[in-house]
Assembly symmetry: C2
Homo-oligomer: 424 residues x 2
């Protein structure tokens, strides 16, 4: 029984990234205009400047009385100053609706404009109230309880930058500035194609079982970084079937990702399928990363396809080190823009790997009284259970070891990890 | 013109929390059963144990040949040991499909079970291949490249706890264990009712404008912590209209939250509306928190209603200090379960407040080379622009000051903040 040995030439990781980036450098970036209400969690594709002052007028920060502070200079406990209340202003009033003269005051609700002539506001609880008049027992300083026009945000200010992720409060700010629509990056549709006789057979035998659970994980992670995942049917280890699944996805997706079938075994048909479907086909296959070295990348008729290995530790390493940069470049972002990072102290020594590989080191984060501690959670074969304990990874450059207590940058698997970081 | 002064009695924050908790202590918790595929981002309402080993059999971690390690004891560069290849096993094969005797080997793909009789696996790249035979130039150790049954997860293990938030990889683990459905907390539907003539008038004048932008922020934050927000129409400062909006929401929502109209001005009708709609009405109005002291809480016909002040700094403080605990208690969780927290060093001294108030101190987080630094971003009147810079808050107990470099616990506004934490 003959078994052919295949060989791939491994490319240093930094070179692999350059090769990926160069594929997309001339691509038009994909944008769309959405209503501000629908922009939660989207990434801005434009800088945003405001053209109004916030607040538009000087406004009162309290419910109280607007008046001239000079009128209170003689106020005392024994001889309160009395002022005539000449009107009321509400937040939707105009400051020119009322003009205050000496000896007068105007009731202002919180957020109301300061009427012309007034230069301070006294809280309602600090006045004595008479019929149509108020009394003040204390001298008042100018501009008390007033927020000046433009004090919050001045017209012309750059308030959001291209590439920023929009949080709930950002949406409120945009809406508050009267901005109705924003330009955001289009969410790439990503087709996920699982391959492998094993999962194909399992799902055929019991259609209710979720045989391609790695696809489910990759799908969830893609949503978390702003893509729209589409889970495709499972392809068996058959080149015709793999080609058919990839062809189907070409029409539905912007980016494709395969799981499995890109190693060096006799049934690893994915690279051949990619090469036979269109030019240029496989651009990269084999990267000096550990694990995940058989990860690859290709282009079929202008659409990117990322090939991930089928063993989970390698699938995940390929996802973060090859797929995520691909999605960043596709969107016109920088390689690290989509993933949250935190600094932590490493919990134990980690010996340098001898080979010139970048090392994808999963770590579990623990919140101690003195900040975050990162504990390496695996350094061996694939294991779902150990990955459950991991919250992110450290990417070690070739031949870099770590000394206990050294500060490291941890890239979180997603921002959901915050719910799992344990307290000491 | 007469202006009535209203008075509320402020309750210490810890007492307010106890009062909230006691309202829900006899409530049945609300669960639902969902398909594992749909359980992303949901919170588990049950402990989950596995009843299978992962992997189920001893499996190969590589593409290679399973054999008896004893057969290789005499292998050398000059005289390779030759073994007869008697079959192939795939991941979906059974370990009893083939039985290895001395002098035999079996081709195994990555993930395939180890055939009976074999006790080690040699990688395909480390054998010489002949017609129907393989040659080995080196002695092989037992149990190389094999993952033992149950090595990843042993049957009977507690793998997830009640209250845990399900991340993408957790879904994959559940699916991989053959678990098809899980019990999760039902997402509470939360109606958000904005009140105020100002925003009512603005939205009437220009229906295209998003006048109730605070409602939009609160709505986004509610989604982030696992609720289903429903933004209601704006009510003007009119008790009949406010009652009508709250009544409408009673039918659609599990929890209600109002914004504005709960202060002490002449147009603050929300507490009266709550009291007139059902028993017991207002349970709490006025809390020793700064800002946000006029926040309140009530029950109308068994449904909780949280009253938030209308100035943004206070709205947000009331949201995190009163609304979020209400939602936790409603769901049967602990007060802090829904919000992510991180430790950080405070960037500057902060003087203690003299009054016995809990202080809600918004901070901006910055990732330095030595971990996170928290900088207080406001200590004065409301300002949307300053809140844009904040990523979370510190809750200071009464009369507690902070010394620069002291470690503090920062509660993030949501896990989205991770995308905004700046690098030094």
């Amino acid at each position: 029984m003959g078994v052919d040995k295949k060989v791939i030439k491994l490319v240093p990781y930094n070179d692999a990234l350059k090769r990926l980036a160069s594929v997309f450098c001339n691509e038009a970036q994909k944008h769309e205009i959405v209503s501000v209400k629908d922009a939660f969690g989207r990434i801005l594709a434009e800088d945003i400047f405001t053209n109004i002052n916030v607040p538009e007028n000087n406004i009162s920060l309290v419910d109280g009385f607007a008046l001239k502070h000079e009128d209170t200079s003689s106020a005392s406990l024994e001889r309160p100053v009395r002022l005539k209340v000449v009107g009321k202003l509400y937040p939707w009033s105009s400051p020119t609706d009322i003009c205050i003269s000496s000896g007068q005051a105007c009731y202002v609700t919180c957020g109301a404009p300061i009427p012309e002539g007034a230069n301070t506001v006294v809280k309602i609880e600090n006045v004595i109230s008479y019929d149509g008049e108020i009394g003040l027992k204390h001298k008042v300083k100018p501009w008390e309880n007033i927020c000046l026009a433009g004090e919050d945000i001045r017209a012309g200010t750059l308030i959001f930058r291209r590439g920023e992720f929009l949080r709930p409060q950002d949406i409120g700010v945009l809406a508050g500035l009267g901005i109705k629509k924003v330009k955001v990056f289009r969410k790439p549709r990503v087709a996920i194609i699982s391959t492998g006789d094993e999962i194909f057979e399992r799902s055929r035998r019991d259609p209710e079982i979720i045989a391609n659970n790695y696809a489910l994980i990759i799908s969830g992670l893609i949503s978390k970084i702003g893509g729209e995942p589409i889970i495709s049917d499972i392809a068996p280890d058959d080149i015709t079937e793999i080609k058919r699944k990839i062809s189907d996805s070409l029409n539905k997706a912007d980016i494709m990702v395969t799981i499995g079938g890109c190693s060096l075994g006799e049934k690893d048909f994915v690279p051949d399928a990619v090469n036979s479907l269109g030019k240029p086909g496989v651009i990269l296959h084999g990267v000096m990363i550990k694990p995940g070295k058989v990860s690859g990348f290709g282009m079929i008729n202008g659409k990117p396809i990322v090939m991930l290995p089928g063993l989970f530790a390698s699938t995940l390493a390929g996802f973060y080190l090859i797929f995520v940069p691909t999605m960043c470049f596709y969107m016109g972002l920088s390689v690290d823009d989509l993933l949250p990072k935190l600094k932590a102290k490493i919990g134990q020594d980690k010996q340098a790997d001898e080979r010139p590989y970048h090392v994808f080191l999963p770590v579990s984060l623990r919140s101690s009284n003195e900040g975050l501690i990162a504990e390496p959670v695996m350094d061996g074969p694939a294991s779902l259970s150990r990955f459950m304990k991991a919250n992110g990874f450290i990417l070690l450059p070739p031949r870099k070891g770590l000394k206990k207590e050294e500060f490291v940058t941890v890239t979180l698997f997603s921002n959901d990890e915050l719910f799992r970081i344990m307290s000491a």
